[in-house]
Symmetry: C2
Subunit: 431 residues, 2 copies
């Protein structure tokens, strides 16, 4: 029984209890939301080390970290360092996008010790692992790789099943500035063009769902036609595929498979809320997992910031799960420092959204920070900070002359000035 099967049968699973506790909700509420698909709990039956989390409506916004080797940089020890950083800064999810070399060994290592949920894109691995020309890979080959990942204990998989012939026809008719920028999407498109066949993940969707169902793998419906520049945002190609994803969402639920739906991409600020509402409507309230959105195209080197802007607004508008973006986006495979910058920026966006959404207890940390600042208790400030390391290093690099202040304001510190003025007032008051 998958989580959604259990929920529909009226059973509150251990995973639902853990989610309820950590989200300050009742287990019964979580069960109801899992039953109707508004919350997914990606939890492969074979992922023993998992601390389950929920993704969806009314829950804290979750953060995913992408990592994994590419043909150009296949340094597994480096990838293991990235895993440690991701976990240290509180990522709830790690996607292993490795696509060459000993991917199975790294995936097993990761699943064995990751309390964070683990996601993959089996298509990448299929192409790297099978060592065939793209057009020679069969639909059966693709499904075999999905099955291998499911057996390994992967909690959710990105599957680009929505790039159907219908969606491709919309794409070809639309006329875009930047065509297809989804790696998986581009490969499915090329495969369809070369073989003349329908999208294999769509053609064999029921077989695929049966594999996922067996291990309770959540399907993360990939958006092959996500916009790669703000000019392509929310265009007919993107929305045509989103319509397909909504149809596929229902089919997955009908077969007892949990669903998340992936979203854009590059989207200007004024279109983000509409994108979230459209996804929630067309995909029947399924959890929305967004990459970015990047609110401008012109900031390579700083796309963790453009994504933090877009991600915060998307999550505040109802997106449930943010894929991190690092400063290396569009430029190179991220290194460990890029991963740290990316996960912190994305945690900031997620938290800002949770404050806006009024997620229970989200404001507790901010209240602790304000209390620490009111009394200029620097250690308490660093302790509650999203990253305790960098602010302490900054503060200590520049010692103030007056204890309790910092070198930004020194003897003009507003908090100190007002505390002193209020103390004098108190001293003068009649009681």
């Amino acid at each position: 029984m998958t989580q959604i099967d259990s929920a529909r049968a009226g059973v509150v699973t251990d995973q639902m209890k853990v989610v309820a506790l950590s989200e300050h909700l009742s287990p019964e509420h979580v069960r109801q939301q899992v039953a109707c698909g508004r919350i997914a709990i990606p939890a492969n039956v074979n992922h023993a080390s998992l601390s389950p989390v929920g993704v969806g409506e009314g829950l804290r916004t979750k953060v995913n970290v992408n990592l994994g080797v590419s043909a150009d940089r296949a340094d597994f020890p480096e990838e293991r360092r990235k895993v440690r950083i991701a976990l240290e800064y509180g990522a709830e999810s790690i996607m292993d996008l490795s696509n060459c070399g000993k991917t199975h060994a790294f995936r097993s290592w990761l699943i064995e010790r990751s309390p964070a949920m683990v996601g993959t894109v089996p298509l990448y691995d299929a192409i790297g692992y099978l060592e065939k020309g793209l057009a020679d890979i069969t639909a059966d080959d693709f499904l075999r790789v999905v099955e291998a990942h499911a057996r390994d204990g992967v909690d959710f998989m990105t599957i680009h099943a929505g790039l159907t012939r219908r969606a491709v026809a919309s794409f070809m008719a639309t006329g875009r500035s930047l065509n297809i920028v989804s790696r998986g999407g581009s490969l499915v498109f090329a495969w369809m063009q070369e073989t003349g066949n329908e999208n294999p993940f769509y053609e064999r969707y029921d077989d695929l769902l049966d594999i996922l169902h067996e291990h309770d793998v959540t399907i993360s419906l990939g958006d092959a036609l996500r916009p790669g520049c703000v000019d392509d945002a929310t265009d007919a190609a993107q929305i045509s595929e989103l319509i397909e994803l909504g149809i596929l969402t229902k089919r997955a639920w009908d077969r007892g498979v949990q669903v998340m739906v992936e979203g854009p991409g590059h989207v200007p600020l004024n279109q983000i809320e509409a994108n979230v509402r459209l996804q929630k409507r067309l995909c029947h309230g399924a959890p929305f997992y967004v990459l970015g959105p990047l609110v401008t195209d012109i900031a390579p080197g700083y796309d963790h910031i453009t994504a933090a802007i877009g991600g915060a607004v998307a999550a505040a508008s109802g997106a449930d799960f943010l894929c991190y973006v690092t400063p290396a986006e569009h430029l190179r495979l991220p290194d460990v420092d890029d991963v740290r910058e990316g996960v912190i920026a994305t945690k900031i966006a997620a938290h800002a959204a949770d404050l806006a959404k009024g997620v229970p207890h989200a404001a507790d940390a901010d209240a602790r920070m304000a209390a620490a600042r009111r009394v200029l208790d620097w250690d308490a400030m660093f302790e509650v900070a999203i990253d305790p390391v960098k602010p302490r290093a900054y503060f200590e690099s520049s010692p103030p002359a007056i204890e309790g202040t910092c070198t930004m304001c020194g003897d003009m510190c507003a908090v100190r000035t007002v505390n002193q003025a209020l103390e004098k007032l108190d001293a003068c008051s009649p009681d």
Copy 2:
């Protein structure tokens, strides 16, 4: 005649023509907006090196860089390096917040060579320069410093005139998590408590306006009661002062002085749009100049990112002018690297907002980036980037095996894959 005097007299000034040209608007439109106060063109008659810009409705969002020495770090050569970085990355405004040592010499140096508009907070300088105890400074002293700055050629000055006794009473009755965090605001508050007098900038507001009018200094009405934590956002204290600022806005316009109004502060995402609408209503459409807003309190070390999120949303909602925030905020006086990070993050926020607001030609740069990415022209990408240096360094640090790609995707580069597939299609087509 100030810009607003001229505009009301039907005169299109040279400054209005420059603004109209750079904003793709008609000079007559700019004149009308200056006349009714919706656009300010801070341009002191003594600032000969200025390239005038407009701040206000329908214009590109402008960015300010704060710098200047404090008692703890009085390194003027370092401040001059910050000026160069601010100008290099396109800041339209520099505020010199120096408050000790030879402030006049630095201010003169800055005004002599800055094409960006220059702002100050005369109160800081008064306290550093006069070398009196706070309570011994007289209202006349304050006005004399304002006059000195005006003569030097400062284009706009932050004046905390809205912290009236009425506003203080609201503040004392409100009960706040973090009291007053505005440096100038805290000093005015302490002065009022110590002397028992009304706010000197309010008491002598007409005299102050006469000084500003003489040199066409734009008044930037400071928000002494801006929230210092998300829990204090949009509270009675803040809004009581905003009501005062609206009243003061009209009085300044009536005396022929241009106005900007300063705004919060720490504000959760879901309250930002309301803050902007409220300011625009209560202050009669005056340009809105925001610091941040910071959308969470718990990210010291990364407040350039929390501010970029809030600033982008504020500007997309109608704020006109963003004060940058650096990673050093709340921790230390920023160094040159912090300044660079801060100005770039804020330029990203401003640009993202301009795309959302539909500012004329804002999307041109993004279109050039998309065109460069479509053909994998890396040099063209770096050229159009907000920061051309960092993305090139990133890209070159990690050379891809396949020309044209980067190490993020290598041989799985989506753009390359789709370009090849579409070329094959073209080759097969009957013509």
